[in-house]
């Protein structure tokens, strides 16, 4: 019986903490989080497009790999890639840097990756570890041409991906004032759905 009371006590405490934490987020802070996270996701999209594009300056593509990796919490995060063969979806996990390196070196004459639909973002929530969490959903259109002259891609798909986002508050001095920073970092990127492009 005592155990049940203790459990209920902690449940009440943790629920109360969570609701207080949610309420403490001002509209302005929520708006900032949204802009900051979308900014990072857009940069990721930009770098994926750039790294895959073999017509771009090679040094720019290589620099973009470093920049893309820095968007993530660390290099151990996983980026899932998917493919459709005969209607069957295959998903492979790649560590962040490996994913970008392989995207750079993909054996095809032309790779066109575009992102469509507006990126969707869940509400940002405060976790018990004082970090903020959210998930962003992106829609990626991939076209691979083994012959650059061809107008019809040899492979094409549309993938919905979910990107974990973590925001760990930090402080810094600006002038003589102590300021709180909320740097958003990308976590793992998981495939939600892969389908044939229309």
């Amino acid at each position: 019986m005592t155990r049940i009371f203790t459990l209920i006590f902690f449940l009440i405490i943790s629920t109360a903490y969570d609701s207080v934490a949610q309420d403490s987020l001002s509209d302005e802070l929520k708006e900032y989080f949204k802009k900051s996270v979308l900014n990072k996701v857009k940069r990721l999209e930009h770098y994926i497009t750039l790294i895959a594009n073999k017509s771009m300056d090679d040094n720019l593509r290589k620099s973009s790999i470093s920049q893309a990796v820095e968007l993530f919490e660390d290099e151990n995060r996983i980026v899932q890639i998917s493919s459709l063969v005969n209607g069957k979806e295959t998903i492979i996990d790649r560590p962040v840097r490996t994913y970008f390196d392989r995207l750079y070196a993909i054996k095809a004459e032309k790779v066109v990756i575009t992102f469509y639909k507006v990126t969707q973002l869940t509400d940002v929530r405060l976790g018990p570890d004082n970090k903020y969490y959210a998930t962003a959903y992106i829609f990626q259109d991939t076209k691979i041409y083994y012959n650059e002259a061809s107008e019809v891609p040899d492979y094409t798909d549309v993938t919905e991906k979910a990107i974990d986002i973590t925001i760990k508050p930090d402080t810094t001095l600006v002038g003589d004032k102590m300021v709180v920073l909320y740097p958003a970092k990308l976590g793992s990127v998981n495939v939600k759905e892969t389908r044939v492009a229309n």
Partner: protein, 382 residues
């Protein structure tokens, strides 16, 4: 009844934890009397002795070690780790201060003991004392809520025969330090002079700054940076790296009210979320500037211009870097009234050349006496 007893014990436990005065432990090391071939340093023992005395005044229990051999360093660090491990959990602060020769090798910073005989680069690993592996990792495993490491060690490379192998002078930035504040006498990879007075320039200014009441640790080291930069004729740019959330005052303010523009600092004992978010303001008095806000903004925007060949953008990047006091000068990227990111100048420029075309605005800029940029805040226009 048992539930009430449990709650009572729980409340008493919380009160005991939070009611205790914070424990402060410091290990202070100064190495001067190196053999001739390594190079005698004039100031480290003086620096360490003065630092130990100053830290004692700010309630640190200090272990002072001077002219230490490898084994003496090891024993001192072991004892220090033991003290931190036995300290009340999350209610203690550990501080490690080192003045003497230091060297960077393969992503590790090494302190040079008096008995190090380094002829080949491999000798560094065997005979010098690793900061990340032996000092910082031990501190992080202990109970302290905050770890402070101060390295006044970027004096010169003490092993000239190994210069090329070491790939640069001075100490490198320590990575992956969690809950830690790491301060260096110079920016990573550069060197600082030992000084000609009683104390090295860095420690001399640090000793002054920690006596100022009411300054947060970040403010203390910013004060040191400003003064060292000025007194060294803009040759020495101190550096710190922090991922601490809690506050630490060497010398807490007592009856002295905070300056009006530091309200945020005064309220900093509340949770991090309630601390201030401040948009940097333009200075009312115009400072001398090597480059104006408008010109800098235009040149930064130009870096993102896709019609300019990437090679040319990289060349412009190097030109713009010359506007800063050091490549490690601080830059902030703003979103609205908030700072979104803090980057070094070189990192910011490396990023800009890879971004899609953007219009950049300079929000605020702090310059040195010669007009070079110490700190700049920018934002991307929609």
């Amino acid at each position: 009844m048992r539930l009430f007893s449990f709650l009572f014990v729980f409340v008493v436990f919380i009160q005991v934890c939070y009611g205790q005065e914070e424990k402060r432990y410091a290990l202070v090391i100064g190495n001067s009397d190196y053999p001739k071939e390594v190079g005698v340093l004039l100031n480290p023992v003086n620096d360490a002795t003065a630092m130990a005395a100053e830290l004692k005044k700010t309630n640190f229990e200090v272990q002072l070690v001077t002219n230490a051999t490898y084994m003496q360093l090891r024993e001192a660090v072991r004892l220090f780790h033991e003290k931190l491990s036995n300290a009340p959990k999350d209610n203690a602060v550990g501080l490690f201060y080192y003045a003497g020769h230091g060297v960077q090798y393969q992503d590790e910073n090494y302190l040079v003991p008096l008995d190090a005989k380094v002829q080949y680069e491999d000798d560094i690993v065997r005979m010098c004392f690793p900061v990340q592996r032996m000092v910082l990792s031990n501190m992080e495993r202990a109970n302290a809520r905050m770890n402070i490491i101060i390295l006044d060690a970027c004096r010169n490379n003490p092993f000239p025969a190994t210069t090329r192998a070491l790939g640069g002078a001075g100490l490198g930035e320590i990575k992956k330090a969690y809950g830690s504040f790491v301060a260096y006498a110079t920016a990573p990879g550069s060197v600082a002079s030992d000084g000609t007075g009683k104390n090295g320039l860095y420690t001399q200014e640090l000793l002054k700054a920690i006596q100022i009441p009411g300054l947060l640790i970040e403010q203390v080291f910013k004060e040191v940076r400003r003064n060292v930069l000025k007194l060294s004729g803009e040759k020495q740019y101190t550096w710190d790296s922090s991922n601490i959330i809690g506050d630490f005052y060497f010398n807490p303010a007592q009856s002295i009210p905070p300056p009006a523009d530091q309200t945020a600092v005064a309220t900093s004992s509340t949770s991090a979320v309630t601390r201030s978010e401040v948009k940097p303001e333009k200075k009312s008095v115009e400072e001398k500037k090597l480059v104006s806000d408008t010109v800098l903004a235009k040149e930064l925007s130009e870096l993102t211009n896709p019609s300019t060949p990437f090679k040319n953008r990289q060349a412009s990047q190097q030109k713009i870097l010359g506007y800063f006091v050091v490549p490690y000068a601080t830059t902030f990227i703003m979103i609205g009234s908030r700072i979104d990111e803090r980057l070094t100048a070189s990192k910011l420029l490396e990023r800009l050349v890879t971004l899609p075309e953007s219009v950049i605005k300079v929000v605020a800029m702090e310059t040195s006496e010669s007009g070079r940029i110490i700190e700049v805040s920018i934002e991307f226009e929609d």
